[in-house]
């Protein structure tokens, strides 16, 4: 057999394998190295803002959870606003809560805004306090521009859905969160 015959025979075998390959089944990629992006914390509907308020500017929630403040349990939600600067972000947050039936206080200090529920202005538990802070040293064209902190009344999970207990989505990281205990990540 000459080299040519071998080459021809080889090509024929490869071609037959290729043409038959769909009959061998289909490979199943795991997709593990590009995990699905968890839903946005506020878009999950698990822990909604009071009064069903809805933030209308580009933002990402960084941390959410309950804390003890002066003997009172409060929800603290920390996020970052994008594309706008601190004054515009503050206006947007206040506007979004006003749309949900809140009234902004004229004397918010030491916060940047304090909002009370229409019809429940004296209910301390329902008050929403807002602090907004521009990030230091950001570039002029930086998308992420600052952080906002919302001091909110505590809420329970609004629904019984696995996503509501996934800290990747809710950003409610347990204080003792242990990377090693996360089976998915141990696989890396």
């Amino acid at each position: 057999m000459g080299r040519r015959t071998v080459a021809l025979a080889g090509t024929a075998v490869v071609l037959v394998v290729l043409l038959l390959s769909h009959r061998f089944g289909r490979a199943e990629p795991t997709g593990d190295y590009r995990p699905r992006l968890p839903d946005d914390a506020l878009a999950t509907g698990c822990f909604p803002l009071p009064g069903g308020a809805h933030l209308t500017f580009a933002d990402q929630v960084r941390r959410d959870g309950d804390v003890e403040v002066d003997g009172e349990r409060r929800r603290r939600l920390v996020g970052q606003y994008d594309e706008i600067d601190a004054p515009a972000a503050l206006d947007a947050i206040v506007g979004d809560f006003e749309d949900a039936g809140f009234i902004a206080s004229g004397r918010p200090a030491p916060y940047d805004a304090v909002l009370r529920r229409r019809g429940a202005v004296h209910d301390r538990a329902q008050v929403v306090r807002v602090s907004v802070q521009q990030l230091p040293g950001i570039a002029a064209d930086s998308l992420v521009r600052g952080t906002f902190e919302l001091d909110l009344p505590v809420v329970r999970a609004a629904k019984d859905d696995p996503v509501c207990s996934d800290p990747k989505a809710t950003k409610r990281w347990p204080p003792d969160y242990d990377v090693e205990s996360d089976a998915h990540d141990r696989a890396r």
Binding site: L19, P29, D32, L135, A139, T147
Partner: protein
């Protein structure tokens, strides 16, 4: 040291014979080491290479069944986050074409076989262009290094890209020989050069700098060494090599750019690498990243979240994250971190033997074997590494060929060594440069031998173009060696 080398070389068989024995030894070691890797599931980045290969095999399946391919699957698994070019995925795809649900041992065995064939092809090519001596040495190092053999059962592209790179260097040396004789490169050679460069890049995208430098050198040499019509023909050939390279790079770049919504030429990793390596890790996500998961996945998820919120590409977000985290880097911090990277680049050559283990852990025999492989790797690696290091600081001028090879090796190694300056290095990075360690080390030893033996006629007599080339190369070699030393000294001073 050289006395020992002299005595050893005097007893060695002819290179041709040694080559056969060395290949046999390589194969035996491979068979012995295979059980250590056999049951290890895909580890870290390998998961992406395996997935990429699976998706590509489905593409082949669909094309030959006249179906439309599953674009979403390809984007998710081949491009994914744009971290890796799909060289290893392409190399592995045939396995999944034939066997879509190949078991771990089959994947490891296939990779081992593919790497063996690649090595044999490289040995043949090096033998033809650099001689049987270098071919034998290539099998001696890195192909006899136990950890390198272990890596040959993995889907990491670093060792095979190093193997293809040495073939590319051999091609360039051969081409320079033709230029010296006044011959322009044939179109076939230009085509080969373009193909080899593409293969190296697809296997390990961090080689882009070394490829650019080698391409530039070849072009420059053609312009300087050739005249008249020949020069124009060389330019045409260079154009062809460039076109081949770009045409083959384009499918990846287009797919990655399209998937990630911004221009991606090779990979997207550099910004986050820089941020994680040299920046303030507490600032990578414009503050702290989420507390869960692996170093590289936290910034990725954050970038995707910002991308989702703003409608911008995650890759552009990553660039901004990197700039932000790097804004307060001091030269001292940078230099210290670079030394740390240099340490992990050069001094942990066997770590993958510990990383890739069966899910249930190794048996007692496995642990002992792992220890032997680990220890033997260091014993065998250190002399080669030290000789390479010394070789980088000295110049070789025993012959024009040696000068050319020395220059190309120094340039290639210098450009490969950029890696620890921009990235957290790891146990596998050196393997891309491994075969060039051998060229540098062997060249240095040979130079030393020749100089000691023939003090009188220190070098060959050159005339014409060769003489000019020899004269020109010498200061370049000295400059490269000096540059290497200078960088080490400056980096040392900065770190203190």
């Amino acid at each position: 040291m050289t006395g020992l080398v002299d005595r050893v070389t005097a007893r060695l068989p002819r290179p041709e014979v040694a080559l056969v024995w060395l290949i046999a030894a390589h194969v035996v070691l491979k068979v012995l080491i295979f059980p250590l890797a056999m049951h290890a599931p895909a580890y870290n980045d390998e998961q992406q290479y395996y997935d990429g290969a699976r998706a590509l095999s489905n593409l082949v399946r669909d094309v030959f069944a006249f179906h439309s391919p599953d674009g979403a699957e390809l984007r998710h698994n081949v491009v994914a986050s744009g971290w890796f070019m799909p060289g290893m995925a392409i190399l592995m795809a045939p396995l999944f074409v034939v066997c879509p649900d190949a078991a771990d041992w089959a994947c490891r065995g296939y990779l081992g076989l593919a790497n063996l064939l690649l090595l044999l092809w490289a040995v043949r090519s090096v033998r033809k262009r650099l001689g049987p001596g270098y071919a034998a040495l290539l099998v001696a190092f890195p192909a006899l290094l136990p950890s390198w053999i272990f890596m040959s059962f993995t889907a990491y592209g670093d060792p095979p890209s190093g193997i293809v790179l040495i073939v590319l260097v051999a091609h360039v040396v051969d081409m320079l020989r033709r230029f010296r004789a006044g011959e322009p490169p044939a179109l076939k050679e230009a085509l080969q050069l373009g193909l080899l460069a593409t293969a190296v890049l697809y296997l390990r995208s961090s080689t882009s700098i070394v490829l650019a430098v080698l391409g530039g050198i070849t072009l420059l040499a053609a312009l300087v060494l050739l005249k008249g019509v020949q020069r124009w023909r060389a330019l045409g050939a260079a154009g062809l090599a460039g076109v081949v390279f770009l045409v083959l790079l384009a499918p990846w770049s287009i797919a990655a750019s399209d998937t990630l919504g911004t221009r991606v030429v090779t990979t997207t990793t550099v910004p986050i690498s820089l941020a994680n390596t040299f920046g303030d890790r507490e600032q990578v996500c414009f503050g702290r990243c989420d507390p869960d998961s692996f170093l590289w996945f936290r910034p990725l998820r954050y970038a995707r979240e910002v991308g989702r919120a703003t409608g911008e590409s995650e890759v552009d977000v990553e660039k901004q994250m990197s700039d932000y985290a790097l804004r307060d880097v001091t030269t001292e911090h940078y230099a210290r971190q670079t030394w740390w990277n240099i340490g992990s680049y050069f001094f942990v050559p066997a770590n993958f033997v510990r990383y890739l283990t069966p899910p249930e852990g190794r048996s007692t025999l496995g642990k002992v074997s792992e220890g032997v492989v680990f220890g033997a790797t260091y014993v065998y690696y250190v002399p080669w590494f030290l000789l390479m290091l010394v070789s980088m600081l000295f110049v070789q001028r025993r012959s024009l060929e040696a000068q050319i090879l020395d220059t190309l090796t120094k340039l290639s190694l210098l450009t490969l060594f950029v890696q620890p300056f921009v990235h957290v290095a790891g146990s596998r990075y050196w393997t891309t440069a491994g075969p060039l360690f051998m060229v540098a080390a062997a060249g240095f030893v040979r130079e030393h031998q020749v100089r000691r033996r023939d003090r009188e006629k220190e070098r060959e007599h050159l005339s014409g173009t060769d003489a000019t080339l020899g004269r020109w190369l010498r200061p370049i070699q000295v400059a490269l060696a000096g540059f290497f030393g200078l960088v080490l000294v400056v980096l040392g001073v900065l770190a203190v």
